[in-house]
């Protein structure tokens, strides 16, 4: 590839503008109507998942939820751009992408509910555990893709991160290793303008995050992250290149985190309301609905069907999260290593004794109360 071809465009690739109007592009093809309908359905589900999770946090059923409200086109685009045999390496903000890969919402929420550190079958869904330490998972994606390539498999790995993560050393090391070893990885950066409170201008002085790619010798491209058609097309091209032995690509999506970092954050301290409101007009659902309705593909019946599907997901989330799971405290010791060390066994025996005494005391108290003998 010529060096100039590695540079991103001056403007983000866009196939459907904020008004729902098609933008002609010589390189990137518009996905089929079937694909766009599937994507739209994903967006409806994703928005509902984000809103439902937010409500569950307010009700105290989730410990915390980093919302991808406003970034659903990136979430759904990432999940739909890869094939069933490919792998997704997500972060904590990518629950919608994880669910779009087929993970049950209840399993995707295990981390945030506080039952365990991850709750889904990584191998069954080909989704790595959601990573919390920034950019660390990008290296895992590279190593995973290296192993697949060595075995002659045509697996592609898509690795997600945000704009803040591009400042981390592991971002640099992952990009560099991926390019040097020419592995089939697509790095997909959701540039949502903020790392908690710190704006993009404090993360980089580069012309764009996608411009970083040429420094590693790989192509970079920027895409309108609120245009799922463009996201699918740009990621699709990168995935195809990776699968055919063309090596890694960096894709930067321009999007916006419509809500605070998490429920624990107060975004009025660092950004103006007008700025947030301006992004409402660029909403990923609205423009695709306008487009698909305009071409006659999205009927009122389909809209109702999609909305009902999203409601079923929300109901499943409420049901799962309003049910307290019976968590075995011995799990603390069960998985640390394949074989439990004598020290951990000793510690578990101590805890087991504490639990048994606590339960016995509780039972005695209950019995006492029911016989009316409490003083």
């Amino acid at each position: 590839m010529e060096h100039a071809e590695m540079l991103p465009r001056d403007r983000a690739v866009q196939l459907i503008d904020a008004d729902g109007t098609v933008v002609a592009d010589e390189t990137y093809a518009m996905p089929s109507i079937e694909t766009l309908l599937a994507a739209y359905r994903g967006l409806v589900d994703g928005r509902r998942i984000n809103d439902q999770a937010g409500a569950l946090v307010r009700q105290g059923r989730l410990a915390v939820y980093p919302s991808s409200h406003g970034q659903e086109a990136c979430q759904i685009g990432a999940a739909l751009a890869i094939a069933a045999e490919d792998w997704l390496f997500p972060t904590y903000r990518d629950s919608v992408a994880v669910i779009a890969r087929g993970v049950a919402p209840a399993e995707a929420m295990v981390l945030l509910k506080g039952d365990w550190h991850s709750g889904y079958d990584v191998r069954a869904h080909r989704v790595a555990p959601q990573a919390t330490p920034l950019a660390t998972q990008l290296l895992h994606a590279v190593g995973f893709a290296y192993a697949a390539k060595q075995r002659g498999e045509d697996t592609v790995v898509i690795a997600l991160c945000g704009d803040g993560a591009t400042s981390e050393g592991d971002f640099h090391e992952a990009m560099n290793f991926a390019a040097v070893f020419h592995v089939p990885v697509v790095f997909f950066v959701q540039n949502n303008e903020f790392a908690i409170s710190v704006p993009l201008s404090r993360q980089t002085a580069a012309p764009s995050l996608a411009h970083k790619a040429i420094g590693y010798g790989m192509p970079g491209q920027r895409v309108d992250g609120n245009d799922v058609a463009a996201v699918l097309s740009v990621l699709g091209e990168a995935v195809d290149r990776a699968r055919s032995g063309g090596g890694p690509t960096l894709v930067e999506a321009h999007t916006y985190r419509m809500q605070a970092h998490t429920n624990a954050d107060d975004d009025t301290r660092y950004r103006e309301r007008e700025e947030v409101r301006a992004w409402v007009t660029r909403d990923p659902l609205t423009r695709l609905r306008t487009h698909l309705t305009g071409v006659g593909a999205l009927t009122a019946e389909l809209e109702a069907e999609y909305a009902a599907g999203a409601e079923r997901i929300a109901a499943a989330m409420r049901e799962a999260l309003n049910t307290d799971t019976d968590i075995d405290p011995e799990d603390l010791f069960r998985f640390v290593t394949e074989t439990r060390s004598p020290q951990r066994e000793e510690q578990w025996q101590m805890l087991r004794g504490e639990i048994e005494r606590t339960r016995a005391a509780d039972a005695e108290e209950t019995a006492h109360a029911t016989t009316g003998g409490s003083r």
Partner: protein
């Protein structure tokens, strides 16, 4: 100090016996592991054509090809982070981090992922990888080349931490580390790389076990890595002065062999822990605490420690003052409330 008392020969592995350096024993273990398991891959900085700065991977790329042993970009977090991904996808990576202090850029990957992924995924994703780190001083190295970082790793649940002190253990423990389903931090005492001993390739060493390096009845010296030959030397001098000194090579820093160590100290009633890392909040202090907790009624004297000072590692010209030596160990033994003293 050649073949361990409790270690056994196994029929599965062919027995080749020869005398070699610890470096050669490690090289042999890597070569044998490559041949025994197609999933084993070795990578790191300078491990290819050069054979590593200590020549531990000497000839492996030439013999087995770039697919099995290869150089990476100079980036330790990258090395360990990609090893995590490779282990997730069926490989058994063995990575070399060139010097103890240069392992630190990988610390986040080690602590947040290598150590925790098995737990995070409820055992579904194991991390069968080995991180080899040359460690410790005694070689006249300049700053950043002589650190003892074992406490950082031993403090982290999920990591296995071992260190050999003989060529036999170098071979057997490295094979055990490579075969382990869990991640192993394999600390190679640089000072001992060129010491020679007999190696029998059929001998296995079980992770989590200590090794009685010398029998004795009056006092137990507990040591690991480069401190073990030092302890044996001190034991020899003490023997000439009429004291029978037992030496235990604890070799598995995590998990720790409480049962062997406890039984040993209960027999002698006196103990000195020897390690060259700074003593504060160290593996030596953990061993000391464990011995106190388990042997208190059997002790004739407080358990003593001989460790490095709580200073950054000494520059080469002050190294001999910094490192534990035979005299310091003998002084510690002398302070253990002997009845023959008045």
């Amino acid at each position: 100090m050649t073949i361990a008392h409790e270690d056994v020969r196994v029929d599965e592995r062919p027995s080749h016996v020869s005398t070699m350096s610890m470096a050669a024993a490690l090289n042999l273990a890597l070569a044998d592991a490559i041949q025994a398991d197609p999933d084993v891959v070795i990578f790191g900085e300078d491990v290819g054509a050069l054979g590593g700065v200590f020549r531990i991977t000497d000839g492996l790329t030439a013999r087995f090809g770039e697919d099995r042993c290869f150089d990476t970009p100079l980036a330790e977090s990258g090395i360990v982070g990609t090893a995590v991904g490779m282990a997730m996808n069926g490989m058994r990576p063995i990575v070399e981090l060139q010097f103890d202090a240069f392992a630190l850029p990988a610390f986040e990957q080690v602590v947040s992922h290598v150590a925790k992924l098995g737990n995070r995924t409820r055992g579904a994703v194991r991390m069968p990888l080995v991180i080899r780190i040359p460690f410790g001083g005694g070689i006249g190295g300049v700053e950043h080349h002589c650190d003892s970082s074992e406490a950082y790793y031993a403090h982290t649940p999920g990591l296995t931490v071992v260190s050999p002190s003989t060529p036999q253990d170098a071979y057997s423990l490295l094979r055990a580390a490579i075969a382990s389903p869990d991640p192993v931090i394999f600390l190679e005492p640089k000072k001992l790389y060129w010491t020679k001993g007999e190696v029998d390739t059929s001998v296995t060493a079980e992770i989590g076990t200590a090794r009685i390096a010398r029998d004795g009845t009056d006092v137990t010296l507990l040591a690991y890595g480069a401190a073990v030959p030092l302890a044996l030397e001190a034991a020899e001098v003490a023997a000439s002065e009429g004291r029978s000194v037992q030496v235990v090579d604890v070799r598995s820093l995590s998990p720790f062999d409480d049962s062997t160590v406890t039984a040993a100290v209960r027999t002698t009633g006196r103990a000195v822990v020897i390690a060259e890392a700074p003593g504060y909040a160290s593996v030596a202090s953990e061993i000391q605490a464990r011995v106190f907790e388990r042997c208190f009624e059997y002790l004739e004297a407080p358990v003593r420690r001989v460790t490095g000072f709580d200073t950054p590692f000494a520059p080469p010209k002050l190294e001999h003052w910094y490192l534990p030596d035979v005299d310091r160990i003998l002084d510690a033994i002398d302070s253990l409330h002997w009845e023959d003293e008045s």
